[in-house]
C-alpha cells in the first residue's frame, strides 16, 4: 500500500534510513530511490533535496534518474495504485474490454489519481504472467484472467 507521508520528519528519517541501508554511493542511487518510493509512496521534492544533500549529488541528477524509471513516482499517488498490463498478449485475450471498463468505472485516465485520493490508475509493462491474461496489479496483489464484471468485486476489496 502506498502511503503519502506529510510529515517532514518522516520524510527525512525515511531517506536517511534508506541511504544508511545501501550506503551513500552513486551506484546505489536506484535501490535507494526505490526504497524511499516504497516507503513514502513517491519522491517529493523534500526527499529529493535530502538525497542530493547526503549523497553529494546535484538535485538535477537525482531527479533525472528518478524520472527515467517507471516504477519510481515523482508525483503523489492514491492510497492504492492500480497497474494494468497494456501489452499485446493481454490485449488480444480481452484486455481491451477490461481496460475500457476500468477507466469507465473509476472515471480515470491512465496516470490520474481520483479526487478522493483512493485510486491511481496506471499502466504497467508486461508482468510476465501472460498465460493468465488479462492481468492487473493492485498494490502488491496480482489478478489474472480478469473479465469486466469481476472489476467491482476486485476493487471493492480495498479501502
Amino acid at each position: 500500500m502506498t502511503v503519502n507521508a506529510k510529515d517532514s520528519k518522516d520524510v527525512l528519517k525515511t531517506v536517511d534510513l534508506a541511504i544508511d541501508e545501501f550506503h551513500a554511493k552513486k551506484e546505489e542511487l536506484i535501490p535507494i530511490l526505490m526504497k524511499i518510493n516504497q516507503e513514502l509512496g513517491y519522491l517529493s521534492s523534500e526527499a529529493l533535496e535530502q538525497i542530493s544533500d547526503r549523497m553529494h549529488l546535484p538535485q538535477s541528477q537525482v531527479y533525472t534518474v528518478a524520472s527515467f524509471y517507471r516504477l519510481i513516482y515523482t508525483k503523489p499517488t492514491g492510497r492504492h495504485v492500480i497497474k494494468f498490463c497494456e501489452s499485446a498478449p493481454c490485449h488480444v485475450v480481452g484486455g481491451r474490454e477490461v481496460w475500457t471498463a476500468i477507466q469507465k468505472d473509476l472515471k480515470l485516465k491512465p496516470g490520474e489519481t481520483s479526487n478522493d485520493g483512493k485510486w491511481t490508475l496506471t499502466t504497467t509493462s508486461c508482468l510476465g504472467v501472460c498465460a493468465v491474461g488479462p492481468v492487473m496489479m493492485v498494490d502488491e496483489d496480482i489478478y489474472g484472467n480478469i473479465t469486466p464484471d469481476q472489476l467491482s468485486k476486485i476493487l471493492g476489496k480495498y479501502e
Binding site: E27, M34, F68, S87, A88, P89, V93, C126, P148
Partner: protein, 593 residues
C-alpha cells in the same frame, strides 16, 4: 540412512481417520510384512494429502500414485500389484484431473526440456534438491578438471549462442572478455526480461535459480571474474526473492565466496533490481542502470567485453544462456550440438501467448517448424478459428503469416523472413485480429519505452505512431504507406541501439504481408477484423432483440434507446464502440459492422 525403494504416505487427518485410514495403515504394514517387503517399502502417516472427501487415501512414491476410497479388502491386491508386480491398480487411482491451463505443463512429445528440466519438479528454495539432480556437479568438474581455456572450448564446440535475442556466439563473448587486459572483470546476468509475452526467464529464476547461478560461476571461472550481478526486473518480485535465497544457500555450501570447492577460485554475486524500464534489457543501458544512472544505451564499440561495468571488461549473458552451461559441461558439447540446425544448436524456450489453445512455456530443439509449435505443441488456435499471424521475438519482432507456418525455427531463417528470434516470445493471432491495430500497438509500446536519447528512435517512432493512429481512426492518407516505409528504413539505419533498430519490424512485416489491410483502412475506411473503433459500427438486430434493456442500462454514453420488450436502437453518432452492449447481451442481438 536406510534406503527404501518405495515410500507410502497414508493420510491421517481427522476426516480420513474417520473413514478408517488407521486400519488401512495397519493392514498395509501387515501385508507388506507378510510378503517380506517391510525393508523395501516404508509406510508413514501424513497429516494431509488433500482429497479427503474421497478418503481413505494414500500416496505412493516415487511414482506419485494417488489411491483413494480404499478399504481393508483392497489392500492384499494393491500390495501384490503395486509393490510386487510394479503395476498400478487403475480402478483405485484418483480420477485424472480436468486439464487446466498451466504456465508450464507436462512436456509434449516434441519438446526437449534442458533449461526447464527442473522447473516445477524441485523445490527452488532448497539447494539440496538441485544438488540431488546433479546440481553443481558441472562446477565441481570444471574447477577440478578443466582449465578456463578448456571450458571456453567446450562452450565453443557446443555451438551455444546467446539466448537473449541477438544470438551472438557465447564462447566468443567469453573469450573476448577473458582476453581483455586487466585485473578486474565482471559477470552480469541479464534477467530484465521485459518483452511482453515472454516469461521463460521468470520460470527458470523462480523454479530453478541454481542452474543460472552455476552457469554464472562457471562463466566467471572461464573468464577470470571475481564479482557478478544478476540484474532482475522489479516486476518479478518472486524471482528476486528466490534468487536471494539461492545465493544465500550457495554461500552456505561454499559454492559462492572464497575458495570455492577448496580451490583458488573465489567469486561472489549480488542482485540488482530494475526500476521499470524496458530499455534496461539492452546491455549498455543495463550497465548504466547498475551504475546508478539513467538507463540509456551508448554506442558500441567499445563492447562491454572490453569496457563494461565501471569501465571494466564485463560479460553479460541472458538467464537462459547461463542455464544451459552446466548441462553442456555434464553431458558434453556434442550432446548439445546434436540438437538443432546447422548454425543454431541446442534448444530454445518459447512462451506461447495469444489466441492459441495451450498458452504457456515450451522448450523445443531448433529446427522445429512454426506449425509444429502452434498446432502440435500449442494445440492449435482457440475456438478453432483461422490462423492469421504469429509474432516472434517480442515487440521488435515481425509478424509472419500462414505462408511461413512450415518455416523451421532458427536464428537465420527467422531473420530472413523479416522477424527475429528475440528472447522467445510468440504471440499467436487469429483471424479476428486487425494487423494495423497490432502494428500500432507495438509501436505504441516501443514509443513509450524509448529512452529518448537518439532522434531517429525518439522522434521517428512517434511519427510512425501518429500515422498508424490516424489510419486506425479512419483518417489515413494515400501517401501514408510509403511514408511508413521510408521512416522504417531511416529509423532502422540510424538508431543507436537494438530497441530503435528493431522498432520498425512490426510495421515493415505487416506492410509486407498484410498490405491489403492497410489499403482497406486508408482507402475504404474498412477494418475487416472489426477491431478499429472508428471504422466499425454497432447495430442491434431487430430479429434477435427482445427488449430486455440490459444494453441500454450498461451503455456508458447512454446511446441506446428503446422500450421494454421492444427492439432497441443504438445511436451511431454517440456510440463510442466500447463493445459493452455486445458483451452484456444474452441474445446475441448486437452486431458489429
Amino acid at each position: 540412512m536406510a534406503y527404501f525403494r518405495s515410500n507410502v504416505l497414508v493420510c491421517s487427518d481427522p476426516e480420513c481417520i474417520g473413514k478408517g485410514s488407521a486400519n488401512i495403515l495397519k493392514s498395509l504394514q501387515a501385508e507388506l510384512n507378510s510378503k517380506g517387503l517391510a525393508d523395501e517399502v516404508k509406510v508413514m502417516d501424513t497429516p494431509r494429502i488433500g482429497d479427503c472427501d474421497k478418503g481413505p487415501e494414500i500416496l505412493v512414491y516415487p511414482e506419485g500414485y494417488h489411491y483413494v476410497g480404499l478399504t481393508v479388502e483392497d489392500i492384499p491386491f494393491l500390495v501384490e500389484e503395486q509393490f510386487l508386480k510394479g503395476r498400478p491398480v487403475n480402478k483405485l487411482l484418483t480420477p485424472p484431473k480436468k486439464e487446466e491451463a498451466q504456465e508450464l505443463s507436462e512436456p509434449t512429445s516434441k519438446e526437449v526440456r534442458v533449461v526447464l528440466r527442473n522447473c516445477g519438479k524441485i523445490n527452488p528454495e532448497n539447494i539440496e534438491d538441485y544438488i540431488a539432480e546433479n546440481g553443481y556437479a558441472a562446477l565441481a568438474k570444471v574447477l577440478t578438471e578443466k582449465s578456463p581455456d578448456e571450458v571456453i572450448q567446450m562452450v565453443k564446440d557446443s555451438g551455444l549462442r546467446g539466448r537473449g535475442g541477438a544470438g551472438f556466439s557465447t564462447s566468443m563473448k567469453w573469450a573476448l572478455t577473458r582476453d581483455t587486459v586487466g585485473d578486474v572483470r565482471y559477470i552480469i546476468c541479464n534477467a530484465d526480461e521485459g518483452d511482453p509475452g515472454a516469461f521463460m526467464n521468470r520460470a527458470v529464476l523462480e523454479g530453478d535459480p541454481h542452474s543460472v547461478l552455476e552457469g554464472m560461476i562457471i562463466a566467471a571461472y572461464a573468464i577470470g571474474a571475481q564479482q557478478g550481478y544478476v540484474y532482475c526486473r522489479a516486476e518479478y518480485p518472486i524471482a528476486v526473492k528466490t534468487l536471494e535465497i539461492a545465493i544465500k544457500q550457495a554461500r552456505e555450501f561454499g559454492l559462492l565466496g572464497e575458495h570455492i570447492f577448496g580451490t583458488n577460485f573465489s567469486f561472489d554475486l549480488e542482485i540488482r533490481q530494475g526500476a521499470g524500464a524496458f530499455v534496461c534489457g539492452e546491455e549498455t543501458a543495463l550497465i548504466a542502470s547498475i551504475e546508478g544512472k539513467r538507463g540509456e544505451p551508448r554506442p558500441r564499440p567499445p563492447f562491454p567485453s572490453v569496457r563494461g561495468l565501471f569501465g571494466k571488461p564485463t560479460n553479460i549473458n541472458n538467464v537462459e544462456t547461463y542455464a544451459n552451461v552446466p548441462q553442456i559441461i555434464l553431458n558434453g558439447p556434442q550432446w548439445f550440438a546434436s540438437m538443432g540446425t546447422e548454425k543454431s544448436k541446442g534448444t530454445k524456450t518459447f512462451a506461447l501467448a495469444g489466441d492459441v489453445k495451450k498458452t504457456g512455456l515450451i522448450e523445443v530443439p531448433f529446427g522445429i517448424t512454426l506449425r509444429e509449435i502452434i498446432y502440435d505443441v500449442g494445440g492449435g488456435i482457440k475456438n478453432d478459428l483461422g490462423f492469421k499471424a504469429v509474432q516472434t521475438g517480442g515487440p521488435m519482432g515481425g509478424c509472419l503469416p500462414a505462408e511461413f507456418l512450415d518455416l523451421p525455427v532458427d536464428y537465420e531463417r527467422l531473420s530472413q523472413a523479416g522477424s527475429i528470434m528475440g528472447s522467445g516470445g510468440m504471440v499467436v493471432m487469429d483471424e479476428e485480429t486487425c494487423m494495423v491495430d497490432i502494428a500500432r500497438f507495438f509501436v505504441e509500446f516501443i514509443q513509450d519505452e524509448s529512452c529518448g536519447k537518439c532522434v531517429p528512435c525518439r522522434v521517428g517512432t512517434r511519427r510512425m505512431l501518429e500515422i498508424l493512429t490516424r489510419i486506425c481512426e479512419g483518417n489515413g492518407r494515400p501517401e501514408d504507406i510509403d511514408l511508413l516505409g521510408q521512416l522504417s528504413v531511416e529509423i532502422r539505419q540510424d538508431s543507436l541501439c537494438g530497441l530503435g533498430q528493431g522498432a520498425p519490424n512490426p510495421v515493415v512485416s505487416t506492410l509486407k504481408y498484410f498490405r491489403k489491410e492497410y489499403e482497406a483502412h486508408i482507402n475504404g475506411k474498412v477494418c475487416s477484423a472489426k477491431v478499429c473503433r472508428a471504422l466499425i459500427s454497432y447495430e442491434i438486430n431487430p430479429d434477435k432483440c427482445v427488449g430486455c434493456t440490459l444494453c441500454a442500462r450498461n451503455c456508458p454514453v447512454n446511446c441506446i434507446t428503446g422500450q421494454v420488450k421492444k427492439t432497441h436502437v443504438i445511436d451511431p453518432d454517440i456510440c463510442i464502440r466500447c463493445g459493452i452492449c455486445k458483451q452484456v447481451c444474452n441474445y446475441e442481438a448486437v452486431l458489429v459492422k
